[in-house]
Amino acid sequence: MNRMLIGALALLGLAAGISTAAAAEPQDARYATGDKKSGYLFAEPETRAMQDDDFTNPGFLWVERGTTLWNKVEGEADKSCASCHGDAETSMKGVGASYPKYDARQGKLVNVEQRINQCRTEQMKAEAWKWESDPLLSMTAFVKTQSRGMPVDVSIDGPARPFFEKGREFYLQRRGQLDLACKHCHEDNAGNHIRTELLSQGQSNGFPTYRLKWQKLGSLHRRLAGCNEEIRAEPYPLGSDEYTNLELYLAWRAEGLPVEAPSVRK
């Protein structure tokens, strides 16, 4: 048991502490590969059932909106996404599984959200969508869901390597008042409880995700900021290089798990 984690919980007055009793986990080969397990396998049956049917999955309300936005002409160039990319079912297949990627012109990583906004400002001559806005979440979910079921598969070599290393450093770095790194909860204690909370492996393959807590769809960066706040660390801005580098490390960690966007989580 991690002494620091227990100390941190005691500091917060969370008397119930951590229980190591393993929850009965559903076995579903689609959501696991080797030791890697999607957050789907840590969810209660009702939450899994909500994701299993595209009609009951509230995330598809955003996908629906993304479908409309794909064909909407905006900006001075008089273009829509479809003007260049045609049918998203073909052109976007696999895209969601392979981001973030190194972008040579910017000299850094871009994720799907940032790539969408790059298209809007450079190709469409339209305004960038705000981070966590409904249209950006809708388009991200629409693009990523074209890769649903495909294994996460990112490149960490060549020019992406230094950014991947920064992401790994972030993952292992203790931070915040509770002095915890990502790994302390999601590697050392995955499958254990903090009070009633079952810790997952913190896999990123389901994002953007419909969180019952948020009552709406949200980005991976929003979740990372939430994680940072929970360990009493100051979060980085959504869309920051720090989170995008971490996103690449998390995608590498999730390699082989299926893209589930939009997933449903607690």
Partner: protein
């Protein structure tokens, strides 16, 4: 280092713990008051007819991962003919700030008195389903739902 900046002082945490303790002490009284409010609401909805057991069933998770979205299904055993049908089903959450959740008004044309929806539950509590039949009789079912309060992410 940016992330090392403490956001809460130790004193802040102690004050927080005090408030939490006070809230726990006050809880039983609040629960009782809410049950009375639920009873009053049900009396209004049924016109004072005492509910009987049977005919209606409510399906809910035993443990809700998050109280924001708790799926429920209510079904009533009824032939749904012009002479014998379910007029209404009311769902009442005893422990919510306002106990009314939803009312469903049927006609025989529904063919089947069953609905599925999702509700918010503020805490662990009993949820009741009240069925008002076309002859004025009233049936009730209830189930407790444990609402998980997140230790960290919840």
């Amino acid at each position: 280092m940016k992330n090392a900046t403490p956001l809460l002082s130790r004193r802040g945490l102690l004050i927080g713990a005090g408030i939490a303790a006070a809230a726990i002490a006050a809880r039983p009284r609040l629960t009782q008051a809410a049950v009375t409010e639920a009873d009053r609401l049900i009396e209004t909805l049924t016109g004072g007819v005492t509910p009987q057991a049977g005919k209606v069933s409510i399906k809910l998770p035993q443990i809700a991962e998050n109280g924001n979205t708790v799926p429920f299904t209510v079904s009533v055993d009824s032939p749904m003919t012009d002479k014998d049908f379910v007029k209404a089903v009311h769902v009442v959450a005893e422990g919510n700030p306002a106990p009314g959740v939803a009312s469903f008004n049927f006609t025989p044309a529904a063919g089947k008195a069953e609905v599925a929806m999702r509700m918010r539950l503020a805490k662990t509590q009993n949820v009741r389903a009240i069925a008002v039949m076309s002859d004025g009789s009233v049936y009730q079912a209830e189930q407790e739902v444990k609402v998980t309060i997140g230790g960290c992410g919840g």
